[in-house]
């Protein structure tokens, strides 16, 4: 059984709420496409990274589950690049 301080969880919550507020504020910044979506998704990626590393404890996953997680992220990245390339060269 691993005993941890709850402080990282609280800090992660504060960071997530701050990034959510930032995303909401960016909505009114009137950025041109595609930067509006790009910035919003970049902030979303940062939030997901916080949830994954702090709440899901992804950094402590070892062995086969780590390979599974890495493979899933890799395939999602491959899909994103593929779609971005398809859209960019239409």
């Amino acid at each position: 059984m691993i005993m941890r301080s709850g402080a990282p969880l609280v800090l992660a919550l504060v960071a997530l709420l701050a990034l959510t507020a930032l995303t909401f504020g960016m909505h009114f910044a009137a950025l041109a496409e595609p930067w509006s979506l790009t910035v919003a998704l970049a902030i979303a990626a940062a939030k997901i990274a916080i949830v994954a590393t702090v709440f899901m404890e992804l950094r402590e996953v070892r062995g086969t589950p780590a390979i599974v997680a890495a493979a899933a992220i890799g395939f999602v990245a491959l899909l994103c690049f593929g779609i971005a390339g398809d859209v960019a060269f239409r």
Binding site: G6, T20, L37, A40, L41, V51, P65, A72
Partner: protein
Amino acid sequence: MRTVEHEAARLAMWLFLASELLLFAGLFALYTGFRAEYPALFTAGIERDALALGSTNTVVLIVSSFTVAWALHSVRGDRRRTAVIALAVTMLLGLTFLTLKGIEYAEHLSEGIRPGTNVFFTLYYLMTGLHAIHMIAGLVVMTWLLRGVWRRRVTAERHTALELGALYWHLVDCVWIVLWPLFYLAR
């Protein structure tokens, strides 16, 4: 102590999460393709979505991810009562999310916006509806876990089920973190 059963269960859950991630990634790819094809349609659709409700739901889910993580932290520290409260709050937040989603759907339907109205709203109902189904499944899991913690079946020494249930809940939160800008913000 990590048992073989614990490790096998964790692997199974990560495999399941990976499959869910790829399911939603495919839908996000579909969204991207159609958005590139019909940018004006998507901008108009985003303008019609309820920004306040969607944004409130984002905060609700993020806080619920914290509360379920806090429940796990409490169980590990043998603080059963705190864990029960944290899980109950998680469930309350989940129900709040679904209620607000229902209100949003009702508003759209009253305006004649249905699946099939156009590509944007078909994707909206498909992706947020699939997410809502995952939320309902998550609430069933949370109910079972709350019962387990209350009846001391989930303890500091034996809490694999809570770990895995929390992982599922966090994935559902991560999916919404991406859905929110796609359907409510980025125009």
